[in-house]
Symmetry: none
Subunit: 354 residues, 4 copies
Amino acid sequence: MKKLQVAVIGCGTIANSAHIPAYLKSEAEIRYFCDIIPERADAAVEKYGCGKAVYDYHEILDDPELDAVSVCTPNNVHKDISIDFLKHGKHVLCEKPAARNLEDTIEMQKAQHESGKVLNIGVVNRFNTGVNKLKNLIDKGFFGEIYHVYASFRSARSIPGLGGMFTTKEISGGGVLIDWGVHFLDLIMYCVGDPKAKTVSATTYSKLCDNQNMKDYSYTSMWAGPPDYNGTYDVEEFITGHIRTEGPTINLQGAWAQNIANTEMYIDFLGTKAGARLNYGGNFTIFYGEDNALYESTPKYESTNHFENEINAFLSCIQTGEKLPSHIDTNMVTARLMQALYDSAEAEREVVLD
Amino acid sequence: MKKLQVAVIGCGTIANSAHIPAYLKSEAEIRYFCDIIPERADAAVEKYGCGKAVYDYHEILDDPELDAVSVCTPNNVHKDISIDFLKHGKHVLCEKPAARNLEDTIEMQKAQHESGKVLNIGVVNRFNTGVNKLKNLIDKGFFGEIYHVYASFRSARSIPGLGGMFTTKEISGGGVLIDWGVHFLDLIMYCVGDPKAKTVSATTYSKLCDNQNMKDYSYTSMWAGPPDYNGTYDVEEFITGHIRTEGPTINLQGAWAQNIANTEMYIDFLGTKAGARLNYGGNFTIFYGEDNALYESTPKYESTNHFENEINAFLSCIQTGEKLPSHIDTNMVTARLMQALYDSAEAEREVVLD
Amino acid sequence: MKKLQVAVIGCGTIANSAHIPAYLKSEAEIRYFCDIIPERADAAVEKYGCGKAVYDYHEILDDPELDAVSVCTPNNVHKDISIDFLKHGKHVLCEKPAARNLEDTIEMQKAQHESGKVLNIGVVNRFNTGVNKLKNLIDKGFFGEIYHVYASFRSARSIPGLGGMFTTKEISGGGVLIDWGVHFLDLIMYCVGDPKAKTVSATTYSKLCDNQNMKDYSYTSMWAGPPDYNGTYDVEEFITGHIRTEGPTINLQGAWAQNIANTEMYIDFLGTKAGARLNYGGNFTIFYGEDNALYESTPKYESTNHFENEINAFLSCIQTGEKLPSHIDTNMVTARLMQALYDSAEAEREVVLD
Amino acid sequence: MKKLQVAVIGCGTIANSAHIPAYLKSEAEIRYFCDIIPERADAAVEKYGCGKAVYDYHEILDDPELDAVSVCTPNNVHKDISIDFLKHGKHVLCEKPAARNLEDTIEMQKAQHESGKVLNIGVVNRFNTGVNKLKNLIDKGFFGEIYHVYASFRSARSIPGLGGMFTTKEISGGGVLIDWGVHFLDLIMYCVGDPKAKTVSATTYSKLCDNQNMKDYSYTSMWAGPPDYNGTYDVEEFITGHIRTEGPTINLQGAWAQNIANTEMYIDFLGTKAGARLNYGGNFTIFYGEDNALYESTPKYESTNHFENEINAFLSCIQTGEKLPSHIDTNMVTARLMQALYDSAEAEREVVLD
């Protein structure tokens, strides 16, 4: 059988660390490396010894040999690129978040429905071994009713690429919520069955750093590039709030930067029979009481690479038609919730969703 | 000078572990031990070798020798007893919470204003050495602007006296919020200058235990007495919420019982220049960044007993007329906030305070 | 109601460390302290401030006020004393092992049946909190079928009272099996439902020490008194074997003394769904696999003193007529098994039980 | 001198990880790589850059240039292949176990005796540095009389290649005993002088997994290939028993899979003067008491690769005629013992050997 032909659109960090290595191990062939920075596309061709460098994605929209694309660009062009490829009959795996706001995400969903092609979002935790072990326990009723979830994604000092695309709202759509929170909220929603949000009250802050005091911001290392003091910092580095859903309530605290001791990256799932603390990106521990004794256990298991799982599932569903948990339709639950969090923070009032 | 004569109303745990020992070390004399359970009052007289046993507080209202009382009863009679003594010209130190709800607390405040006698509430953290060290740092501007506070008062399995007065709403007024939360909220308010709450959204749960499944509740030890399975459990054992104030936002998670690993009892004060984690009842650590280095420090200091401080301040202010931070007027801020938390939880909507 | 009157027969270590303190906390009254060494009986009266010293138990057999006795003597007189008291209408709690061999134990059972009085054996683990937590899990089916049990009661160097009553077969009936093994086997039998043994193959050794080389035996401390080099050492200090029962197989290794690193005192219960390691006298850990993840948990719980539980249950069953798991009838299962182990070791062949 | 020419029969895991690398470092030349799966033989030729690929071992039986073979096939064809090569005048190093049962092993011994060629079994521990250090201490009398040995070869969850050749009795002859136990028993026998077994009582179980519930078996990783749920699982994964020999007694517990915490792979040698714990595949510690002090010591030494030692000794003995401890004659002791263990388990009774 002919191998699926894919293109990688945007050859930055997430492409090189996740999508490209996974495609190279998969049954597909990388046909194009595309980046508006020509050096990046060229470097990928040279490094991986395959594919062709392209600097403008429009050039490959009409290639009948091309089956699918990974969209690994900044958030602001997720929508247009994904819709263009869908309209030209290509399947799309778009990195998270789907778009900068709900309105754009709805447009993407519409394009998917009209084209009938696959549009998956890179909610990679849905392909994580530990997360799925935990979800299985939840689905089997081990925890009883999960009535509350606490999400902590707090870091001491780790604003990414100060003054760059992550901190420029026009490009990214937001700060820590859209960068890290989207993963935490999607993971929670996946585990507890994608319940709809009913009320959302949140507050966002940009207190440790803003355009006025970027030079005063202390850090020990900075991923996504060194600071650009001529750039922009106009996004939130902290969000906190309280959410009521059709399922559990969710309390969240997320910070790229906060004056705290250590990174606290975990999610507590609190159930009537048992609870779990999931260390984000790692293992989880379960807690329960029985017969006046308290139990605590951290299961050991063999993990597979979640990016490879995500890519393989994407390639597979193109051929089988299976609808994955990363489908744009499922993603709307989180997209609506994210929008409500930002809306509530702006209004300084609770938002009630119908 | 003649020694102040005091009466202890209610001779249970808090009286014996805190108020009585503090009075015995003070300049005052305990004139009466009062309890409606005669054995308790008698036992106190025998044990401490002073005072007179009384079984009905009305008997001592008119004693002209009596100057002041500590009200150490269950919450449901705080109001009536405090008001009676105020009306009879006695000074009152009433254990926290002032009352079971805001309405009752307002009545108490009114009685204080009309009588002109002292009415302090047992918000003992305001007399804690560590808390005051931290408050001094806040007041000096060390943390910059405190923009957010996170309060965690979560315990794995520690519902007090299941089926007893703590878990019976008619007596206590509520569960973990009114028992532990009142201390945490008052402490926060004290540290950040008693700002008024603007919006409050909260959810309460009674999920690990209720009247239906009290026998299924697992625990390893239980303070405030063994379970009474014929008693009542109709209060919340978990509360979570998001609060906007005129100062910082507050996020809180408090549980008598939750399927978690360990007790997590702390408050994070997050400021623009620095942050602090206060271990409830213990020491605190400060965190800040400067010149691309991150600092962490746990100050050491000598502590004095906060109950003794509280009692001595009460006795002193009777004579000096000084208005303490534990005055009923200051307490109204927390009382309003507590009422709003319960109201929001009942309505499942955010409450907006004027 | 009149308090039960009890006598303690034998005022050595187990009486002073376990039976007497438990009676003092109980609803019963100690009427007599009896010991053939008068100083011991006298010392008990003086130390505990109650009871009367007796030096020959026959003197109190006919006391109509005496209700029950604890037999805390060396093993060789367990049988005669217990039977005498039963025949005189007294209830008996006899320390383990019931007797030195099966024949004597059968006689004791017969006397119990004829008298109708209580005869319980001091299998104190049946009143241990952790053991009962574990047994509850087994009974609820948590482990699936328990198909094998491994009992390790191995100590590096701890022969008790070299040359004394523990090492003199005429008095004790045997060595490590009858001293420690009886506890381990009884505990196992209790947990897995007292199944009958079908085949028994065992070997015993007295290799680190015997009458010839008692002075060469190295040790760091010795409980039950200092060595008596003029005494006797003619019991086994090591036993190992393989047992088939109507339930699980049992493999055992028990040594008072062996050239090993550390004490290894535990029991592994191996089930089809889960397994447990019980640390003798302590807590236990459970192990299981599910959905390709391995779980391990050590429950925490509050323990009560098992000697007090044992004494209280003994006193209670005298009045209620309840048959306890420590009844002589239940004890016959272990007594038969112990006899078979010694018989197999002597014959150097497997013993088949009908 | 002309180099010895060898053939490797069976190019699976043990050949590639042990025999082939050892031959490549030796004085011999690999002339043939033989495997009935042609790709395996071809791959070996390509990978090691020597030898010729053969797919049917009969083709090389008559090659006069061929001196010796390593038989690295599944157990079920050990016997026929070894005998064929012996009959054609070739020397044979056959992987352990010699054969699936005693009858076949006797046939192999007979063929060795008739041919006069070398037939060694791959009991590689007899060439292990640590094992030989320990054996030297035993032989020198350091431990006094070794009166008991405890062998623990227990793993939490490690059934190899579920449904494959390891778990198919027709191919392997048995489960954990024939796979791991053969190594442990042979090592013990080697160390204590190859004493004959007198009585054997054993029980085997297949409780965590069988053909009915292979899919329910939880594991974190699986060596010897992924599960084949259409394959067979009809061997024991657990064996336990008690053995009397002309030397020490042996107690054993061996499990590929058991609900325990950690792998427990060790052998305790218990002597009258001292004891040792040998960590299988690793170092050993000695324990002894002297003058009321207890000693513990873990000797350090330089190890050589035991597979290389085994291969070199094999090649050397071909030329010198020396009879190695891995000779088929010595192996009969373990072969008889293994057969008796399986026979006892089947009969559920002790087997008495003459």
